[in-house]
Symmetry: D3
Subunit: 250 residues, 6 copies
């Protein structure tokens, strides 16, 4: 797009979608870019269909615990937060008032949310009494209603936490030339993994100790390209509904 | 405790509990300190009962959106994150290997998680190949199993998001002299509130516009001291179970 | 307190007291929390007596040189400074104009002062021409007039620099159940210590080399609970005088 | 790619190319993404042809002076620098030793260089006596030998400083569907611009005052798709030569 | 000096002196550079006489409260602290183990001390068990024994806090061509000033309100060049004693 | 100067010159301070001749790659950038609108430029629509027209990159008592050096491996004091022309 085209868009619509993901190992057969390719594919298909601006994808995320595997690249949480703050501030300065982050990596959520709060904190500490007209919203693509229902129906517990069949299916649909459609390896036995329930944290060496081949309790061998097409279609519809409601909200 | 007493404790047990909360408005009748008084009360009762070290409470949290109300004090997300990193690093340097944060304020979660990841990121970026022996765990007291079940049973949708009856009940039990046990005001009509579902963010002025008396879709007039006693007792038991499992985990 | 109660207070009085201390080893028999328990005890007794708001205690301070002993927890100077800035900014945003820090740990002074200057620097660099209405004051409890005279009279050179008899006496009065009232150990011989006069700095390992049992040229075996009661009473009176003069100052 | 594929690559080759650009206004008819689309196009064509790993493009750069125009998004210099440091540190931690930044935006150079120096400074301050095996190299695509000669031959002074005909030509070749091939507007009269020679700096409002339609002394109406094809082909060859020499260097 | 000459020096002596001051208004007749010219003059005379390395003077300090007057230049406390840390780290990396800061501005003390603690904190947090061989010492020139006695004897209460007669006298001796030796203005009446005892803090506008001509309770019209010569001679002797004792200390 | 004298100057002229250099090894015979002594000498001679204010010299720069040699002192790039931002902000707050950095060390350029952009970014992100009246300009003394021509004419390729004959000549003129005028050592053989063309980066250990005696492809034995006098005279004239044009520019 050109700058005048953006200006014209802003006279009609207040919102933008920013896909945010990661570049990190996805086990023996998943694409390193899976976490940014998924939200990018959804957002771009939605943007092209409905005439909504989609910002360039944030392809690097908070992946410190994957640094024990080749091909992983991580930002520190504080770096990712600074990046997000600058994006929000830039968009606010140039006229956007509804900023929608479509996320593809769970590890991004904490820095992303912290960054948005830091953006608002500057106004709150300054005692500004006029509400900030810029609103932000964060959604991970897998928690969109239709997507969430389908992935649970398709995979149940085999969905797991990392290298999930749903994200692999989505890349099978969006990037069919880059990933083997069949003969993808079955998951390692659960007994090889040391998983804690809930909110626990590891460094890269500990992650590798717990999950030696990089997959976390998931069986991506269940994924098919058709699943991916279905998930993608549902995601685009869900995103449309959610994004436009966000744009209309006060 | 004295320093030699801590050294003796560490020869027996690897873990410590850190209560973390906030100091922020809790509507017309809730205590400003509610969010740190609750995890503190639970942790101290547990520590005294089971001989576990409880660190001094982190009474200030990430409350930027409450700065439109007198008595609120906030840290920026980045400040809270720095604080957490230093605590974890100090405890790691002096021999603790299981650090359990018992949280009392939802707004803390993102900076808290980001901080722990930043702590581990230093090792991961440095390429350290030995797993970090220090583990961290984050739990908000209301998500402990028994507590969660009881608060849902007692209050249902009236639990709301801020100035919840469960937290008010807990302060009625832990600080009975500081909060009126009866004649606490009913909640404002829902129609006065502009609430969005999900992951949205506001500055302080916007929060006040949306929630003019500071309460968010909750009816704390339902809270009783007996509820608080019950919640507290369940929380201590749940915490004990979760903490000792965490200490034993590998 | 509730938020409306704070608002009512602010209509009458501009000031608040913030106790700030540390959590660090205090030799073989002193409480790890001594440095925050002392200003907290003084501030709370004063607040309760004279109806002045006392903020939650800052229990963690700048104690890096104590990290060679179990139970010590430290903030980096920059973290403590960020924390202080946020507190001052929060209080300024919500209507306080006289902020009084009652300090209990010498190591906090540099970061604390630097933080307040950083707060004002933002206005000065921006060229704001209206004087900032928010004033800050820093006092360590032992330099309050009456306290200072009494501790010198009671202990002379045995007061020393760390684990002082005056602070131990104060905890004997404020927390009698937590510290042995008698049979506290005599200080190690001075010859065991490598002390430099004046403004010198060490890391934790060097501190431990110089002061192997954690005490620095002090003899806390002289402390009695009655001393503590006397010091506490004097401190409350001194604080009252100093705080109200600060509130009235222009 | 998958993580095992990267590991296999690293056994053969030490190097990676990272395209880095910006998302900023390019006058009335240039693409907002021009500055990242150009190095991305060059790097990807090179990578595909010669089997070299190309990292995901850094699409956001240091564009603060363009924030007066819709569609511009900027990072602060310090944010961009943090981002670069994390990328370099990640790649170093996972086995890359030759990191080649192919740059597409002049405003990135200072933060990019500062970031790399900051990465090395950590080792130098620590007194590490073993030379760091990781080398970094920075090249802007227009300074590659063949490219530089051709753009000067084609456009001379009309190349200008921003919205240059060479970069527009390159996007005509790489993204023919996104930019009008003809009827692109002629440049505004030079008399409308306030340009200083050399190393001067502006904020966004001043930039807009100086260059009201966003173009800086350039005439992109000279650009043709064929020029773009020629520039792209030369750039790929130049990059190959430079990259492989860098990989072999000691 | 050359680098080999420094290497030779380090084989003999471990220490270096760093003069640190400020560039800030000194009332109607004092030199803007007074605060860095004084420690520089003392240190250089000492260095030349006794063969001790004196680092380039840090001429900018923490002077935010003087920014209401032309000619003042300030660093934020955090910037000054970063600067000090880098100096200490550089000197430590290249072989110095006794670093002596000779200070000329009270406002520098908090950031300077905080910075040195931050330097040591890195080791302490990392749990390094070997004492850091690098020691730092901070002295303000006016607290050197002989200097302190003489300035009190000469000026008593007229010494004041800023634009003191002792510092003006010292510049009369060190820079006789740059400051009028006679007819310097008498101080403004005390009644014009709003001074609080003790540890209080202002922004620039408030400082100017309190001290309209920039001087703080001092009468520099008492200063003479001979006083300056005497102070300078005493300071050099005092510094020599203190510095060499510091170099010998363990 | 006094503060009132600066105020009077500002009524006439908007500009100031800030010499910025480094303190780093200059081979076996060059002065450690060469990089700050050169711009200081030029700026001071110019200031004295033409009545222009010259700020105190920034004697420490970004020299991390020289930390393998005794006598080198470096700032991290981020520290230097913070320093520059504070200087610019201070001067802007007190009335200067044309800030001219005269640089003497190539390694400073990236942090210096990044810092100035960071200063402007604050306004641009805030959406300020009035152009900032404060302009900054960066020039390295060797790129001033007359100087550049002469040094190329005198030394050709022997000028090299570090410990250049032109800078050594300049110190021979400005500090004749501090550097040997004759018998300075010839350069080491080129074969001892591992130099890459272009934009490459090293840590200190790698620099020392590449350039064992600290000189980089330069032959300072060609320098004479007369060269230095000529270079200095040309530099002063060039600076005058450039500075006054900058002051007049809009």
């Amino acid at each position: 797009m050109t700058s005048p085209a953006v200006a014209a868009y802003l006279a009609e619509r207040p919102g933008i979608v920013i896909p945010i993901g990661a570049t990190e190992q996805h086990g023996p057969d998943g694409l390193i870019g899976t976490d940014h390719l998924c939200p990018e594919a959804i957002a771009r298909r939605f943007g092209a269909r409905d005439g909504v601006i989609v910002a360039p994808t944030l392809a690097y995320g908070m992946s410190q615990f994957h640094l024990g595997f080749a091909g992983s690249i991580s930002l520190r949480p504080s770096t990712l937060a600074a990046l997000i703050q600058d994006l929000v501030a830039s968009l606010a300065a140039t006229g956007f008032t509804r900023i929608y982050f479509l996320n593809g990596h769970g590890g991004n959520l904490a820095p992303l949310r912290a960054a948005i709060q830091e953006f608002y904190a500057a106004r709150s500490f300054a005692g500004v009494t006029e509400p900030c007209p810029v609103h932000c919203r964060v959604r991970s693509w897998w928690e969109l209603d239709g997507v969430d229902a389908l992935r649970k129906a398709l995979y149940g517990a085999a969905e797991g936490y990392h290298v999930t069949p749903s994200e692999v299916a989505l890349t099978l649909a969006s990037h069919p030339d880059h990933i083997a459609a069949t003969d993808r390896p079955a998951p390692p036995p659960l007994a090889d993994m040391i998983l804690h329930g809930g909110d626990n944290y590891y460094d890269a060496a500990d992650f590798r100790r717990r999950f030696p081949d990089g997959r976390v309790v998931s069986d991506a061998s269940l994924a098919t390209r058709q699943h991916g097409e279905d998930l993608l279609a549902l995601a685009v519809d869900d995103l449309a509904k959610d994004f436009f409601a966000f744009c209309r909200s006060v």
